[in-house]
Symmetry: C2
Subunit: 298 residues, 2 copies
């Protein structure tokens, strides 16, 4: 067997040493579990929560108890608990301890297929469009499992939104806030902030009326009533901590990150017709993008 060469150590020891702790440099150590020990403990506890051995509402063992039973340091135990909080599996209640949470609805959002799927549905009869929507598609839930709220307002484009929509700052926009939750949970699965040029939308007064939501066939069908066909949707994805209000709204630990998608919809004339910012809790959301590659010519 060829023994892998040890590469030259980079200047500035810190990066290298940190990488060693992260398990990067274990040349010569074959096999074994290469994960940090706090993570191994967190995964053991996760398995117990998943199996129901630690049921929802159970008070978690204290740090001292966990340190004794696992043989790990208090720091490792604390990191393991932090990890469980980030996964959304437990919640710390000030002065009362850490409790196992009820399992939460997960969302696996496959935007690669979703956008074309939504487009194909636009041309279906209303009966068909009423039956299901994109969130059902992502969650495996039915229309009856989901609560949906919409709120419309008219705002002036600030500089950022004006640039995104390719309009002048101050241009009137229709701002739509959507939040969708499972019927069994209070906190939404996603919150979405959508912006369209107001004058564009006003051509169909129904599109200014939030009580028409959820609109069968969604935004692509709403645009269709204006004679607009989409040609492209771009997703720009970022990660950040929640604002305090977002943590409360999504019912997440302030230490849970959020995933954000800025979705830009471009019509067949090359015009940006909608910009939407979608905010999703990082403890229960995955975004999946699938890339089919062209075969080499043989």
């Amino acid at each position: 067997m060829v023994v892998p060469a040890v590469p030259e150590r980079p200047a500035g020891g810190t990066t290298w040493q940190t990488l060693e702790r992260l398990g990067g440099t274990v040349t010569g150590v074959h096999g074994r579990d290469w994960r940090p020990r706090y993570l191994q403990l967190a995964e053991e506890l996760r398995a117990k929560i998943m199996s129901g051995e630690l049921a929802p509402g159970t008070l978690m063992p204290s740090e001292t108890e966990l340190a004794e039973s696992s043989g790990l340091s208090r720091t490792s135990v604390r990191n393991a608990i932090r990890q469980l909080r980030e996964w959304g599996l437990v919640r710390a209640e000030q002065g009362r301890g850490t409790y196992v949470r009820a399992p939460r609805q997960r969302v696996r959002r496959r935007n690669t297929e979703r956008y074309q799927w939504e487009k194909d549905r636009v041309l279906l009869d209303e009966d068909e469009r009423l039956k299901t929507g994109a969130t059902e598609h992502d969650t495996g839930l039915t229309v009856d499992d989901l609560k949906f709220h919409a709120e419309y307002t008219r705002v002036d484009a600030n500089e950022e939104m004006a640039a995104a929509l390719q309009v002048e700052p101050g241009t009137p926009l229709l701002r739509r806030v959507y939040w969708t939750s499972s019927r069994h949970e209070n906190a939404p699965l996603t919150v979405s902030y959508s912006y369209l040029p107001y004058d564009l939308v006003a051509a169909n007064p129904d599109l200014l009326d939030a009580s028409k939501e959820p609109w069968p066939g969604g935004t692509q069908h709403q645009l269709y009533t204006l004679g607009i066909e989409l040609d492209r949707i771009d997703d720009e994805i970022r990660a950040r901590p929640p604002s305090p209000d977002e943590a409360e709204l999504l019912d997440i630990d302030p230490g849970v990150s959020v995933l954000t998608v800025r979705k830009t919809s471009v019509d067949t004339t090359g015009r940006v017709v909608e910009v939407a910012d979608v905010v999703m809790p990082g403890d229960r959301t995955e975004l999946v993008y699938s890339h089919k590659l062209q075969r080499w010519k043989t």
Copy 2:
């Protein structure tokens, strides 16, 4: 003009009230700046940092000074500073105050194009493949601007990785850790953990030798030397806080989130040949996915 209807308030006041604070319910208020005030302050300060009015290394004004000059509460000022930290624009130094950071290299990773671009390059001459790579493509930097490190080890598949690679737990894997940084910075732009079945790779001993990195043409060319052609790459994206070690390695505030991509490469026979976990700092990374939609038949 049609006045948007106020939708029925959902049961459970908390969500609704939180949404009001988030600016969701401002029906009747037309125009104005709808962003929270702390964010407006953060954006003003960002503009000053971007323009150089607040230069790298400058000590930021204290909370008291900012509260006085802005007329905002201490809480809003604290949230604005937290926001600047999350954007990676300032760094808090224990007991010394908050300093403006030097601007950091940003990465805008367009995976929709990147994977096909990498595949097309595999069949080029080595001279051509040597000239540039995917990270150059994402950053606009040249080969000379980038430092690249690779570290290879042999490990046994744990349960998670065995499931991802569709092999038995305990199967030997080649684990490769890559980190790439700008020549002007110490902290990497990305850290990538790649796993391939060891026996698959061992057919070409050069692929077990980390000193052959950076390999011209990257992983897709490495697989090509084994007679493997990729058919599909799936990206699974998540957001989470960094582990303490990751925060140190990436030189980010513990309050900066990381974006992670689990990249699964499938060959033309339907076999998973590589699984890679890519970790990117959320203060300076965007992932872009572009979706071209099929036209309706008219």
